[in-house]
Amino acid sequence: MHNFDFVKPASIADAVKALSSDGAQALSGGQTLLPTMKQRLAAPAVLVSLTGIAEMKGVCRGDGGLHVGAATTHATVAKEAAAHYPALAALAGGIGDPAVRNRGTIGGSIANNDPAACYPAGVLGSGATVVTSKRKIAADDFFQGLFSTALDEGEIVTEVRFPIPEKAAYVKFQQPASRFALTGVFVAKFGTGVRVAVTGAGQGGVFRWTEAEAALSRSFAPGAVDGLSLSGDDMISDLHGSAAYRANLVKVLTGRAVAAAG
């Protein structure tokens, strides 16, 4: 790994200032960034740790839902969101393994936007709002394809605000070697309709399956998606599963998620 200068600011304002220097990059839990730096796929000149910023940590009820600080670990969300938004807590509790959950954070996960990551499905499926150091971005606008988001250079995610659905569930079909999702589906039923977000399947990363949303908005039952079919054309195909396999898995997991949501 190439060397770098390490700074650990105590406020969002100081972090943003530190990130304005040449070659600076944010470090949150490091569960993605450290392995990436070891492979020399990233070589920041300055690493700005966000783990010392108290205002970016914690889970609390706020207007219209649940607010999760961007530097909150998966383990904390699993524990503290359980009483408010069980499906989100369960998603966080199913990420990786206990040691990954004790360091990895929601902000790092969505900023990274790995096509097989769990949180992007939870954030998009909930229709959450991503709060950054300079604006608020709707989840529908935030995720912009493989490893790409609406974030500008030097802009950091500070919080994610989740509206709380009437019913929701995330079902992950685990890829046991990586512990990521081979494919995962998040379903959320609101008074205004149903949202379905799919990870680990689309070549462009997380996406909403709008046909299933329409069908489930009419009838929120596992069988409601039986008649639908999803094309494998834009699906990921690798040695773990072909595009057609993933397309079928999306449908199966959507049914299971609806059943789990009850």
Partner: protein, 161 residues
């Protein structure tokens, strides 16, 4: 180089590190605590698990400077005060929970974190919690048995498969 200080196994320690110095390297090369093993160095195997402020983390996936000031506990801190094996370590020995022993420090630290959270885990709880600890030798069965035994549960009915 920057000076970093933390508490390791109850002892205040400090040393010179670079930004890129991993906690695993600081422990092993800086402090000579080579009980913490580095199996993969790619965040997959869990051999390097230590506790930071009471939580199990992979020491190969954290920078030493990011945990400055923290309370760190390693496998060297798991023995009893008189040097005899701690409860979990003894259970691993009694139930043949290791063969080559390379994964064992991480297994013991993960098991300790589990038992702190959940003092009477079920077999399924143990297997689920050890998801991030890979063992190439034992087939896991005796590790699970050792952790259950360390929690004070009767394992006489848990057959060796």
């Amino acid at each position: 180089m920057t000076k970093v200080s933390m508490t390791v196994n109850g002892r205040a320690v400090s040393g010179e590190v670079e930004g890129r110095t991993l906690l695993s390297a600081f422990l092993r090369e800086g402090l000579g605590l080579t009980g913490t093993h580095v199996g993969c160095d790619t965040s997959q195997c869990g051999a390097c698990v230590v506790h930071v402020d009471g939580k199990a983390i992979k020491s190969c996936t954290v920078f030493a400077m990011d945990v400055a000031g923290a309370e760190v506990r390693t496998i060297e801190g798991m023995a009893n005060a008189d040097g005899s094996l701690g409860t979990i370590q003894q259970a691993f020995q009694d139930h043949h929970g290791l063969q080559c022993g390379f994964c064992t420090p991480g297994m013991v630290m993960s098991a300790a974190a589990l038992l702190a959270e959940n003092p009477k885990p079920s077999e399924a709880d143990v297997r689920h919690y050890l998801d991030g600890n890979i063992c190439r030798c034992t087939g896991y069965h005796n590790i699970v048995k050792a952790v259950l035994a360390a929690s004070g549960q009767d394992v006489s009915a848990v057959a060796a498969e």
